[in-house]
Every structure is written in structure tokens, then in C-alpha cells.
Symmetry: C2
Subunit: 259 residues, 2 copies
């Protein structure tokens, strides 16, 4: 039987709330077994860019990562957020190791080709260095990823944190029984967006198809769910979506997704 | 016989010159055997602090690291500089791993006690995690340190890069035959500061004492030399001081320091 591995992604809204972040890190540090953390960046990068007079360029509602924006992202995600999370985890007794995809060549990617839109320095993932991550985990160390990959030619690339988490879960599943956790500000996938407690506790391929038809799953939840099923279709055992209490042993209110 | 390990520190003036940095990284990537890189920060942090309206407070010519300055340092040293060096080394075929002292609990320190001056979030090193660094090196990976340590209680600390390099060299010397390289903008320790080529090729305890009396070694070179002899007095085999060409196999003009 394969050893269990938890891959936990926390979103920007959790990171920016100091109380939520501290509670999340406490829960994460208590989570038993091997684990990997992936953090998003949140609005800190946008705020810093604003202070530096760097326009966050958008195209059809999607952010463009130009050279200056990439510098800001590298400073905020790779530096400030990542190192602070690592030092806080150390204080909680979790021996953490902060990583970008360049470190240990852990996430290989290529710059997204220009089609209709030039997204700039955005990376689409080619592969995960499972051997490296396995060797880190085997020494009792917990990898903590920021949402940056690299192209192997000296270029760092901004990469979606949800995608990094699912690709790590997929890349590690030949070796581990991987569970992917998406931790965000809501208790799970909601039946009614107006009702915070209307959590759908279990979704599978069949019920997902119904939820799509009923338009219960829409907008920002759509790419997240696509990431989930992409992971499940590639040997990840289970995906869970919920708020920071999801990692506590007695919490029952969150969404579990299986095939 | 112990295996050889090179600990190389590059200064801020090299980092800020893109051409020098690229040449240095090429030389470093070609350096044979196990190696560790430590980089300073340079003026980028001061520049960013200025752009953000953060005053770099000084006391008797020495920088005070307040909370805002520490954030800037964490962004610039731990994020921008460190991740860019790592990605460039990957492109040169060196499998690099960027680290602060919090990562893998690799550099333990305490906040400098307040005596005459409160230096703020500045760390004095207590120890190096030699087991962790040894396990990283044994998998063919090259650690790349920024000048940040941590106190194990969740606090990152700004720490002098020269000191980090010498403490790593000392901490690794029970396991390795360590050589410490200080790479900066000059060809070595100069007999005459006006003459760039007046390099003193060999210094030992005896000649050092003479050089001190003759006041050949003064100002900024004094703490650097103290770091060198501190390392040599603690089982580091050899210290070399020179410019980026020092790492090339045929370069003869640099300073070698032994006991």
C-alpha cells in the first residue's frame, strides 16, 4: 500500500488575514503524515505593484505578467509570503522548506504561447520533480511552494497556485496515495452562494454533471472544479474543498470530490 | 580524507552588475566538487525601500533593521535576488536550491540583544544545520543562501552575508574540508588601495599582525579579515579573497589566507 501524502493549497484571502493564517498554519502543522503546502499570493502583490507605480495590466479580465509584475510577484510570493510562512511553521515544530519551481528544479514549465492574448511571463507546467520532492519528504521536511515555476533557461514564470497544487498531487501519485486539499474562505462548494452553510458534502463525476447543468457550479468555481477532476482523472485519490477548519480532525462540513 | 566543499560568498556590487553576475554564475557553475553559494543583497533593497518611502535608519553608520526594512529585505534578498540566481544556475546545469536560514531550519540565530544600539531585527548566528546541508549536498544539489536567518520562534532576522558564509564553512568543517571564498569587486587584499593590482597573495597569522600594525588592513577590510581568521581558527582549511575571476582554474591573482 502506498504511503499517504496531503497536498494543501491555501488561497490569498486566507494569507492576508493574519488571524486566519495563524490558525491555518496551526491546523496544517498538526496534520499527520507527509504533506506539502502550496500558497497563492493574494492582493499583497497588487498592493506593492500599486505602491511602485506598476500598472497591473489586464486583458479580458485576466492579469498580464510583464517583467515588472514578475519582479513584484517574485518578491512577494517567493520572498515575503513564502519565508514568513516557513518561519512560522518552524515555530510550530514543522520543519518547512520554502520552494519556487526553480529550486531543486521542482516545477518545470514553459512560457504560455501567445495566441489571442500575450499573458507575458506566465508558465504552463510540463512536469514535477517527484524524485526531489520525495527525497525532501523522506528526510522529514515539509515543502512549501509559492506559485512560481521556471523554464530551465533562466526564466521564472508566474503560475496559478491551484494548478501547481494539482500538478504536484498528480506528479506524486505514482509514489504516494495523494489527497489534494483546496483551502479557501468558504466552507466548501455551495448549493446556494447566498447560504454559507449549504455545502455540498460529496461530488462525483455523475453529480458534477448535474450540478453543471443546474448551473450551481459557475464562475470562479469552474476552473477550480476542472483542476479537481483533472487531478482525479490522473490518479489523485481524493480532493477536498473547504475553509481552514477542514484540516481539523473533527470537521465534517466540507466538500469531498471523487470520481 | 574529508571530501572538499567550497563555500562562496558574492557581494552586492557583483550582484547588481548584470554582466559581472552572469560571468560569476558561469564560473561558479563550472567550479568542481560540492559547493554552497551565499549572496549579499546590495543596494536593491535600499532602492526598493526608497521607492516605498521607508527610511533606512542608520546609527553610527550602521543600518537598523526595523519591521518594514525586514519586509523589504525578505522581498529582495529572499525573493527577487535569490530566485533569480537559482533559476540562472539551473540554466547553467547547476541544480540549485534557494534558502533562507528558516528553510530546513538551516541557520539558527537570535535577535541581537540591545546594548548601546538597538539594531532591530538583526540576527546573531547560534548554529548551522549541517545534517540538512549535508543531505542536500549528497543529492547533488547546490544550496544558495540569502542573508536571512531565523530565531525558531517565527521571526526572520537580517544577518550579515560574510558571517553567514563563515559560519556555514565552520559548521560544515567537521564533515568536509572547507574552503571559504569571498568574491567581491577587487582582486584581493591590496597593499595599496590606490593600486588595484597590488594584491597580497598570501596572508597568515604572522603577516596579518604586521599588516595590521602597518595599517595596510583597515576600514571595511577589518571585519572581513576578522571573519576569515575566525573561520580558520575554527577548522576551515583556507580562505580566498578576490574578484569573480578567482573561481576560474588559471587565475593566480587573489589573496589566500591560512593560519
Amino acid at each position: 500500500m502506498k504511503q499517504q501524502l496531503s497536498i494543501v493549497k491555501i488561497g490569498g484571502n486566507v494569507i492576508e488575514n493574519q488571524v486566519e493564517l495563524e490558525q491555518f498554519l496551526l491546523n496544517f502543522s498538526k496534520l499527520e503524515g507527509l504533506k506539502i503546502l502550496v500558497h497563492g499570493g493574494g492582493k499583497l502583490a497588487t498592493k506593492l505593484a500599486g505602491q511602485l507605480g506598476i500598472d497591473s495590466q489586464m486583458s479580458n479580465g485576466r492579469r498580464i505578467t510583464d517583467a515588472k509584475s514578475l519582479e513584484v510577484i517574485t518578491m512577494v510570493y517567493g520572498g515575503l509570503t513564502n519565508k514568513n510562512i516557513v518561519s512560522k511553521l518552524q515555530a510550530l515544530g514543522t520543519n518547512a522548506l520554502g520552494l519556487s519551481g526553480a529550486d531543486g528544479n521542482s516545477i518545470q514549465a514553459h512560457k504560455r504561447p501567445v495566441k489571442d492574448i500575450d499573458f507575458g511571463f506566465v508558465g504552463d507546467i510540463d512536469g514535477i520533480n517527484a524524485d526531489f520532492l520525495n527525497s525532501v519528504l523522506s528526510t522529514g521536511i515539509t515543502p512549501v511552494f509559492c506559485a512560481i515555476s521556471h523554464d530551465g533557461k533562466g526564466q521564472l514564470l508566474n503560475t496559478n497556485a491551484d494548478t501547481i497544487a494539482s500538478e504536484i498531487a498528480i506528479g506524486m501519485s505514482p509514489i504516494f496515495d495523494s489527497t489534494l486539499y483546496y483551502c479557501f474562505e468558504k466552507k466548501g462548494v455551495l448549493k446556494d452562494v447566498e447560504d454559507e452553510n449549504s455545502v455540498i458534502q460529496h461530488i462525483n463525476t455523475e453529480t458534477y454533471s448535474d450540478l453543471l447543468q443546474q448551473k450551481v457550479i459557475a464562475d470562479g468555481m469552474l476552473p477550480k472544479m476542472e483542476n479537481c477532476f483533472h487531478a482525479l482523472n490522473n490518479h489523485v485519490s481524493k480532493v477536498c474543498i473547504g475553509d481552514i477548519s477542514m484540516l481539523q480532525p473533527n470537521t465534517k462540513l466540507f466538500t469531498t470530490i471523487t470520481l
